[in-house]
């Protein structure tokens, strides 16, 4: 009985505790990311943004949460009830599941598995199901069109994301997310005789792939300028038209958690994860998680500015960009990177 406790119950409790801490921190972070998104967007348009609830509007996201939770949930009479209720759950749960393998500092991952990057890719390709299920189950025209669009869009951009990840993996030689970060300690900068710095990270050596990854990540998470799935001017709100109260909140939450996940993935693959920008004593004193969060915020700022300044793509332009521009470039870069590593013996 004693061994049963120490072998099964105790590890399970520890994992449970870690997961709860991660989810709570993540949700609070997402609440402020949402606030930052609205503030940045407002600043670009010379508005003030949320500024009423709490000092500088800091509690706006929590006020929205309460509002959604206390609203009456409405299920359309023609909807497929089971799938209709399952869809927002799938969307939110899947987005949070992927965080199980994300290392936010050295050794700070709930599951440090060998195929971490494949796991993230697999889970992020599942996010489309929330949208498709919601769009179909609503039994309404706009949501259905949104679901069809999202199915085609996500499958298209996953291809280029996959190839971008392959180029990074070629340079690293491991599928483990912690190994990917650690391998960025030395790189281009140290080969030129400099100390370990931000020049070693993959963003410089694989710059075209860095750009393709950020753009594909925007398309994959349905962020503007690729938000054709929920384009207000054409589809009202796409798959979310028929949703209200908590179900809508879950869709919204799932979307933002997925966006932050993509920012974290960009940080890990290209911006050196928790590594300090320059390897000097003062910067090394700062805990790694601070660097990680700062980098995630930086990538999110790019996402947010893209939303604020760029007009929405037309659907055929979106498909053209994915299949005729990104796919050939990333395919070529996979071959070129592999050939370069083989010929120069860098790997």
């Amino acid at each position: 009985m004693d061994t049963f406790f120490s072998f099964y119950v105790l590890p399970a409790l520890i994992i449970l505790l870690k997961s709860v801490v991660l989810i709570v921190v993540l949700l609070i972070f997402v609440a402020y990311i949402l606030y930052a998104d609205r503030k940045i967007w407002a600043a670009v348009q010379l508005r003030r943004g949320p500024n009423v609830v709490g000092p500088w509007g800091l509690f706006q996201a929590f006020a929205d949460l309460l509002k959604f939770v206390f609203k009456e949930p409405i299920i359309p009479s023609g909807a497929n009830k089971g799938v209709f209720l399952l869809a927002p759950l799938v969307s939110a749960v899947v987005a949070m599941t992927a965080w199980a393998v994300i290392p936010v500092n050295e050794g700070w991952a709930i599951a440090n598995i060998n195929v971490g990057i494949l796991y993230v890719l697999a889970i992020s390709s599942l996010e489309v199901y929330g949208v498709i299920m919601g769009g179909w189950a609503s039994n309404s025209k706009y949501p259905f069109l949104g679901a069809l669009r999202s199915a085609a869009q996500m499958v298209s951009y996953e291809v280029s994301i996959g190839f971008v990840i392959v180029t990074v993996l070629l340079c690293v030689g491991s599928l483990n997310l912690t190994d990917i970060v650690m391998s960025q300690q030395d790189g281009l900068g140290t080969r030129l005789g400099l100390t370990n710095s931000f020049l070693d990270w993959h963003w410089l050596g694989l710059f075209p792939m860095f750009v393709i990854f950020i753009i594909s990540a925007m398309a994959e998470t349905n962020r503007p300028p690729f938000d054709l799935v929920e384009a207000e001017s054409e589809l009202v709100a796409g798959h979310m038209v028929e949703y209200s109260s908590t179900a809508f909140l879950l869709f919204f939450l799932g979307e933002y958690v997925a966006v932050v996940l993509m920012c974290a993935l960009t940080t890990i693959l290209f911006l050196g994860g928790w590594l300090p920008p320059v390897d000097v004593a003062v910067l090394n004193w700062v805990p790694g998680i601070i660097w990680f969060v700062l980098k995630v915020c930086f990538v999110f700022f790019i996402f947010s500015m893209a939303k604020a300044v760029l007009p929405r793509f037309r659907y055929d332009q979106l498909m053209r960009l994915g299949w005729k521009v990104f796919l050939p470039i990333s395919l070529f870069m996979v071959v070129a990177t592999a050939a370069f590593l083989k010929l120069t013996g860098f790997a």
Binding site: Y8, A151, L175
Partner: protein
Amino acid sequence: MLNGLEAIFFYLFAFVAVGSAFMVISSRNPVHSVLFLILTFFNAAGLFLLAGAEFLAMILLIVYVGAVMVLFLFVIMMLDVDFAEFKSGALQYAPIGALVGLILAAELVVVTGGYVLAPQLGSGAAKPIPDLATRSNTAALGDILYTDYIHFFQMAGIVLLVAMIGAIVLTLRHKQGVKRQNIARQNARTLEEAIEVRKVETGKGI
């Protein structure tokens, strides 16, 4: 054999997989069938993980659940087939179906019965080389596919490419008189050739 937590998870995944596979063929709505099929794939991935084949588990999720099933769902949602009507004539195929089922069941009994009657059969099964403890199965699979059997692998890829091009050729239709967008030409346009500024006198028109 299986014990403790591993056994619990094995039976959980196995029962849910079989149950949802049954729901795939018994549910009346084709979209529900596809959703249950996705659940089946999930549990199959779980079984792969228990067997230590983490790479196969993830690839099953990425390829089948992430891509194939999305297209499947896409087609079924678009077609809106009335399956009740479709199923009404299905009973005439029952004898053939029963025969196939019987053969499969008999084969399963022979295979599993063999292990029960002659336990030494298990020792003849192939062991992973090199041992899983020394090499991750992602690297081992990569060695086999991309180093040992690279030519066969490339050939299989070419066969698939030919099939894909064939499918595109079969469905390609060239319509006459369709206005197409030439992106390169659009990007090459300059301000001078695109617009013309004219001075228009008041009340005259052009």
